[in-house]
């Protein structure tokens, strides 16, 4: 036998799964891309500029944060993902210093002050978003009605569906009659010609009456943040993450499930209806819920370690999202709900440790 160079001496195991941090991050990024492309198509090139600025801010934040710790971690992809999520949570018309600030805050304050990837207690992208939301609230709540929805020559500003319902109800000072969709119709909220055709065609084909507005929400022809509008593409991306087991099904399932349940039971109350009259579909399709449930609540670092913990966390997030959406002063509750539950993760982890093999139940103790 020829004398080869020294062999690797490593501890067991000698083989490894193909999983890696950059694969996890890359998978999530790929799953997010279609929804972002949709956002750029819908809102125009400015949406692309917001995304690029967010990514640049994130890269800068990562380089500075990691640089201070004499590391180079750009290749793990997590900063890119944070930057992308920051951009997806921005309205298209936002001044470009807002996404830049949000990304820098996300990376430098939310992530690197705690020691970088894996050590942050709060989802960095959401921290960045909430930071700029409270810093530049009016810029962060100025929405654009895309021309592809209105058919107008130029994009005009207008409210999101959730915003329109919330302010409409507040102006009314009482219950709104009907449901959110009827209420939006009474406010002359537009539905795209495409969705109206689709609703008609669908009725012709199946005999079922559907609301054009919900088709718009499903495909993403609606005002909102750049990356949150296309429910369909986000669901496809989420399905890909579930299929490749990058995320666990527990968090999206119990998040959306508990939210849907509560909305179904209590969602009719603001419209003067009784219990069990909420419009679940409308609420599932609108706002940042799907983006949040599949891509942000599932962030490994800031979600619990065990399935039991994930279920508790997801139920809490669903409850808080419902609470903020229905009774809070903001139309949207996803970001805040996830951040609030992030705070509870260490406590949840403490009390939901795995059941040890060969140890009587009463004696289980978290490591």
């Amino acid at each position: 036998m020829e004398d080869e160079k020294l062999k690797l001496i490593t501890g067991s195991p000698q083989i490894h799964s193909l999983a890696s941090t950059s694969r996890v991050m890359g998978g999530v990024i790929l799953a997010l891309l279609p929804a972002g492309i949709w956002g750029v198509w819908l809102f125009g090139p400015r949406a692309g500029a917001v995304i690029l600025v967010s990514l640049a801010g994130a890269a800068a934040g990562e380089l500075i944060g990691a640089g201070l710790m004499k590391k180079n971690t750009l290749a793990d992809g997590s900063a890119f993902l944070t930057g992308l999520l920051v951009a997806y949570n921005m309205p298209v018309s936002v001044p470009l210093y807002v996404p830049a600030t949000a990304s820098l805050f996300a990376l430098l304050v939310a992530k690197w002050t705690f020691g970088g990837l894996g050590n942050n207690w709060i989802n960095p992208a959401l921290a960045g978003r909430v930071f700029v939301f409270f810093s530049w609230t009016s810029a962060m709540t100025k929405w654009t009605l895309p021309v592809k929805l209105t058919g107008a020559a130029e994009a005009v500003t207008g409210a999101t569906v959730l915003g329109a319902v919330k302010t409409g109800l507040a102006d009314l000072g009482g219950p709104g009659g009907g449901g959110p969709v009827e209420f939006l119709k009474s406010l002359d909220f537009p539905a795209s010609a495409f969705a109206q055709d689709l609703a008609r065609g669908f009725q012709g084909l199946t005999g079922l009456e559907t609301e054009a507005l919900k088709w718009d929400l499903f495909f993403g022809l609606t005002p909102g943040c750049i990356g949150e509008v296309s429910t369909l593409l986000l669901l496809l991306g989420g399905a890909a993450l579930l299929f490749t087991r990058i995320i666990n099904w527990e968090i999206p399932f119990f998040y959306l499930g508990s939210f849907a349940l509560l909305t179904g039971i209590f969602g009719g109350l603001p419209f003067g209806k009784g219990l069990f009259a909420g419009d679940v579909v409308f609420h599932l399709l609108s706002g940042g819920l799907i983006l949040g449930a599949f891509f942000m609540a599932t962030d490994m670092v800031t979600s619990p370690l065990t399935k039991k913990g994930m279920i508790i966390y997801a139920l809490g997030t669903g409850f808080l999202t419902f609470l903020i959406r229905q009774y809070g002063s903001f139309p949207e509750g996803v970001s805040l709900a996830i951040i609030l539950m992030n705070i509870f993760v260490p406590v949840i982890n403490r009390y939901t440790g795995p059941k040890r093999f060969g140890v009587a139940k009463t004696k289980t103790k978290a490591a």
């Binding site: 195991p13 996890v24 060969g358 103790k365």
Partner: protein, 440 residues
Amino acid sequence: MSGIKTFPKGGLHPPGRKALCSSVEIKNAVIPPVLTVPLQQHLGKPALPLVEPGMEVREGMLIGRADGFISANVHSPVPGRVKSLKAVFLPNGLQTQAVEIEFFGEFDRSGRRTEGRKWEDLGAEELLKIVEDQGIVGMGGATFPAHAKFKVPQGTRIEYLVINGVECEPYLCSDHRLMLEKPREIIRGIRILRTIIQPEKIAIGVELNKADAIEALRKAAEAEGLPLAVVPLKVKYPQGDEKQLLKAVTRREVPSGALPSAIGAVVSNVGTVFAVYEAVALDKPLIERVVTVSGGAIAAPANLKVRIGTPIRSLIEECGGFREPPVKLVAGGPMMGFTFYDPETPVTKGTSGILALTKQEAAAAPRTFCLQCGKCIAVCPMGLNPTGLFKLIDHSGYARAVEGGLLDCKECGACAFACPAHIPLVQGFKLGKLMSRKEL
């Protein structure tokens, strides 16, 4: 739920790669001109040397005497002359004294396959004595002296004798081939163990990827008239661990920190059972074992019956050398085995496999921070929190790690295999155990 049994918690499916040599028949390996026989091939104290340089030895002659109860005899694998006593490194990093033997002369037993002893009339005491004399150790990898394991404490009822034919480590086929080619001998070995241990029930657990072995064992058991259950098990790592095997077969959990006897069970590997048979029926000490030589870098993977002390280089040459340069040489399976760099390292009683892994096979992600993904917790068969334990050990919190179950960890490597951040969890736990023994 399918009817196929397994353990309920954790586990995973590393690529099996058994096809490389699962259909290659066991053949006798070439005996090299010089063999190096370590005096510590078992758990416990090393054997005391009985030979000096220049002495002539016969095949099967006692050359190292067990030092105490938890120790094992060592015999000369070949006839020849003692060249020297020297220190060698074993793949697990242990340095031990070894007897270097120059091989020449006549074999006393090689080729003799007839049962020389009327073993069916022997009692438990006599059989246990033979097992002890012949230096039998657990051949699944742990190399615990067999006589110590089989000696049932007085007053203990053993309900189950469970034979481990799981072989859940990827690549390895030595137990599989043994069950396929020597089922009758294994069943007779179990009969011997039955006399020693007096269990109420006997079961053999075999993973379903070895359906042919299950069949062969069932037939042999029937032919021998031995009532036992051959239990097919789901293919899942680490099904072959003692505690996971017992959970699957008996539905009982060995309590934390206890031995299988706590739930009235004794577990033994099929390789050990075969060695017990040969020791008792053929009066043959443990001087050879079946070794799987495999891995993507090996030209012609094979299952070889190897004399203890044979340098690994000789086995690799016999398998056609390397088809491409390996990045790692592994003794044992890829999940729990050890890397070594010196191809002169000898085969010991615990060497179930020799693997030469290619760069692609040994590929691992770069290490990053822990993502808190929880994969390690999901795959841990012992219900531990590997990432939490690792952090405690990393911060010298040994006592708290022990409290969290560190000593339950069997270093099966499932957590480290699955970890996307490629954190050296198993090394951490080995260190943690060492430090906790020192400190606590």
